[in-house]
């Protein structure tokens, strides 16, 4: 049973949505700290460009496309949930999870290829940041997909439909983090 406190909305914003935005605020500074450290390091180490040149921009671009598309299906899921169509919302959420699975699959191949060619997390500073930042992001992708599966299971039975929007907000954030990571780790040679 939910406490009365949860049902109040003195700000006019639903409590769940408010909390998700605060979660994102705390996530922004986690990734912000990591990426700011990377940028400061990179400015002091122009030779890292040689290592960055070895990353596969085409695969990175493909994964960017996959994530952007999965954000689109998350929006379509929200739209369906707003109309009260839980089954359709769940179907779109499963498509988003499919996008997440594709992203992780491609990433696994990419890392396997790089590690088997001798570029590991201890090779130099660039690779340390490359694996840490992308790894932290991948962890968020996996966590988001797991939560989304729970939300989708409920949504298919028309339960807790407001959560479809909440997981969507989180998913867009995961997407936006990648929009920063892709140029920083792949494009900037």
């Amino acid at each position: 049973m939910r406490p009365i406190a949860t049902t109040r909305a003195a700000t006019g914003i639903a409590t769940g949505k408010l909390a998700v935005w605060w979660v994102l605020a705390s996530e922004v500074v986690i990734f912000g700290g990591l990426l700011a450290s990377y940028v400061m390091f990179r400015l002091g180490h122009p030779e890292w460009a040689d290592a960055a040149a070895l990353t596969n921009t085409k695969i990175g671009a493909f994964n960017t496309l996959v994530l952007l598309t999965s954000s689109l299906t998350a929006v379509l899921a929200h739209q369906a949930a707003e109309r009260g169509n839980g089954r359709l919302a769940a179907r779109y959420l499963y498509m988003t999870i499919g996008g997440a699975a594709t992203f992780i699959g491609v990433k696994t191949y990419e890392w396997w290829y790089e590690i088997s060619h001798g570029y590991t997390i201890t090779s130099n500073g660039f690779w340390a940041f490359y694996y840490s930042a992308a790894g932290l992001h991948a962890f968020h992708v996996i966590a988001g997909a797991v939560i989304m599966a729970v939300v989708a299971r409920d949504a298919a039975r028309n339960l807790e439909l407001h959560r479809v929007e909440l997981i969507g907000i989180y998913w867009h954030f995961v997407d936006i983090v990648w929009i920063f990571l892709f140029p920083l780790l792949y494009i900037a040679k």
Binding site: P3, A5, A10, A19, W22, A25, L34, T122, L136
Partner: protein, 577 residues
């Protein structure tokens, strides 16, 4: 450590409404009631305070009487000494000040003071405590694993912390970082709950400027924590990778930059000072208005001041690094911001003194603690000016002056602030009045020795005594007999202060067992928590009796009223807002 909480709450629960879910003591382990979670945080924090206090006892004995066989511990080796000072700092800040001031009182007070029946996310609240409890186990385990506890100071500067061949504690240092990281996650979850509860779940009629100062302070502190801890959380992951995988983030031997860790640590570390200061200063506001029977001087100014302090606290961190090789021009900028931040804090002290002026002051135990907070924190704040100025800091850096300064800030915050809050809300939390006579003995026997511990250390610091020395007899030019006598004074005072805490525990036990039963509003105070039973039932109020708010929390001694207080929820005939 959960035992006392269980015992105390078991006593309450007999009168409470029926619970659903597991029966017996499991009920308290799995409870989502914010009051039970607050007790869990409080008793865990107090247990950790005992461990941290014991560590202080051991290393102060070694400093005063080098090579002594410390009763209860034995001989202190140099490595153990370093591990003891490191973990004393770590425990007192992350496992005492944070859980007690922020988590325990935040959890207890926020729903009660905003007139809600619980936190907005009770299960996330429980998860927050469970992660915190796990972090407690990890940090305690780090002390006893093979190789001993981490011994690289609570700031964990690399390269010492980054490489086991330097620190010789392969397990201890990794567990230390993991424990601290888990603790951060727990407080992030708790903070989201605090912020959302204040924003969304206020009682009908309660506007932003009707919220008691302590709730504002705890929530602003939670926001500061949330916005500052992220980079250090990322840094903790990087440090764990350095330790376990051998990556090159911080260790120069593998191409890393140790100064980067210092920036990440202090970008969090300085706002952290305000994260723990604000709840304590908020507690003091509640107590002095109640016992001066006067309206808080400049309520809105105080709130604007905390927000300004919070913003400014993100731009002062490099004053910890004046001798770390940062650009002297940067040092100038950080000197200016550091001196600037003393303005809002000084202003808050003036606001409190102005509140006292002309009040009808009652020197109860909580009031004594609150007044002591202002007096002692003032000394901590003023000595901070010396250290904030780069020129003076270069001389004082790493001397006992620094140590005495931050104990004059953290002791008032974590110990005086906690005792103030605990004795003020004890009647509400446990339904019994505390013994005033024992309370006052405890107060004086804590405050006087406290000053005798740290004033000698200021003198030592001004004499240039370095703070990270295991045995001064090894350094003939530092081993001056007069300074050694100062160290003995400090250690003996510490023993007196630690012994005085027995009075506190006896008082708690005696008051809880045989104390006078507390009425709903023993202090005749205004805020909402005093309108419900002591202790409050599950759900805080009956669902149909949840309070409605008509005015701010500090309407004391209003002219033309018979009572000298005016509860926030008392209708004034003009109807709801």
């Amino acid at each position: 450590m959960a035992e006392p909480a269980v015992a105390v709450m078991a006593h309450h629960e007999e009168e409470d409404h029926a619970h659903h879910g597991p029966e017996g003591w499991l009920k308290y382990l799995w409870s989502t009631d914010h009051k039970v979670i607050a007790m869990q945080y409080m008793f865990t924090g107090m247990f950790m305070a005992l461990i941290g206090g014991f560590m202080a006892y051991v290393f102060r004995m070694q400093l005063a009487f080098p090579g002594i066989n410390v009763p209860g511990f034995g001989m202190v080796s140099p490595g153990e000494y370093n591990a003891l000072v490191t973990n004393h700092g770590t425990l007192m800040i992350f496992w005492v000040a944070m859980p007690v001031l922020l988590a325990a009182f935040g959890n207890y007070l926020i729903p009660l003071m905003v007139g809600a029946d619980d936190m907005v996310f009770p299960k996330i609240n429980r998860l927050s405590f469970q992660i915190f409890f796990l972090s407690t186990i990890v940090i305690l385990a780090s002390l006893v694993v093979e190789g001993g506890g981490f011994a690289g100071a609570w700031t964990a500067y690399p390269p010492l912390s980054a490489n086991e061949t330097y620190n010789l504690t392969p397990l201890g240092s990794t567990l230390w970082v993991v424990g601290v990281g888990l603790e951060f996650v727990a407080f992030l979850l708790g903070g989201i709950n605090f912020i959302t509860t204040l924003m969304n779940s206020r009682a009908p009629g309660m506007r932003a400027f009707d919220v008691p100062i302590v709730v504002w302070m705890i929530v602003v502190a939670s926001i500061l924590f949330m916005l500052s801890v992220g980079p250090l959380l990322a840094g903790a992951i990087m440090l764990i990778f350095d330790q376990t995988l051998g990556t090159g983030f911080f260790d120069p031997a593998t191409g890393g930059d140790p100064i980067l860790w210092q920036h990440l640590f202090w970008f969090f570390g300085h706002p952290e000072v305000y994260v723990v200061l604000l709840p304590a200063i908020g507690v003091v506001a509640e107590i002095i208005t109640t016992f001066a029977r006067k309206k808080l001087f400049g309520y809105r100014i105080v709130i604007f001041t905390i927000v300004a302090t919070g913003v400014l606290s993100f731009f002062v961190w490099a004053h910890h690094q004046f001798i770390a090789g940062i650009d002297p021009r940067m040092a100038n900028i950080f000197t200016v911001t550091t001196l600037l931040i003393s303005v809002p804090i000084a202003e808050m002290c003036f606001v409190y003194i102005a509140t006292l002026y002309g009040g009808s002051i009652r020197l109860t135990t909580p009031m004594l603690w609150a007044l002591a907070f202002i007096a002692e924190f003032l000394i901590g704040g003023v000595t901070g000016i010396f250290l904030g100025a780069a020129g003076a800091d270069i001389y004082f850096h790493d001397t006992y002056f620094v140590l005495a300064h931050f104990h004059y800030t953290f002791f008032p915050i974590a110990i005086i602030g906690t005792f103030a809050a605990f004795s003020y809300w004890f009647p509400k939390m446990f339904g019994k009045m505390m013994d005033e006579r024992l309370g006052k003995w405890h107060f004086w026997l804590t405050i006087i020795p406290f000053n005798f511990i740290f004033i000698p250390l200021f003198v030592l610091g001004m004499g240039g005594q370095h703070r990270r020395i295991y045995n001064y007899a090894h350094f003939p030019e530092l081993a001056i007999p007069w300074f050694q006598n100062m160290r003995i004074v400090a250690t003996v005072s510490l023993l007196v202060m630690l012994a005085a805490q027995l009075i506190f525990f006896y008082n708690c036990y005696k008051s809880w067992r045989r104390g006078q039963k507390a009425p709903r509003n023993p202090w005749r105070a205004n805020s909402l928590e005093w309108t419900t039973e002591s202790p409050p039932p599950h759900g805080n109020w009956r669902p149909d009796e949840l309070p409605v708010v008509y005015r701010g929390p500090y309407e004391y001694s209003v002219p033309d009223r018979d009572d000298d207080y005016w509860p926030q929820s008392e209708p004034d005939g003009r109807g709801a807002r």
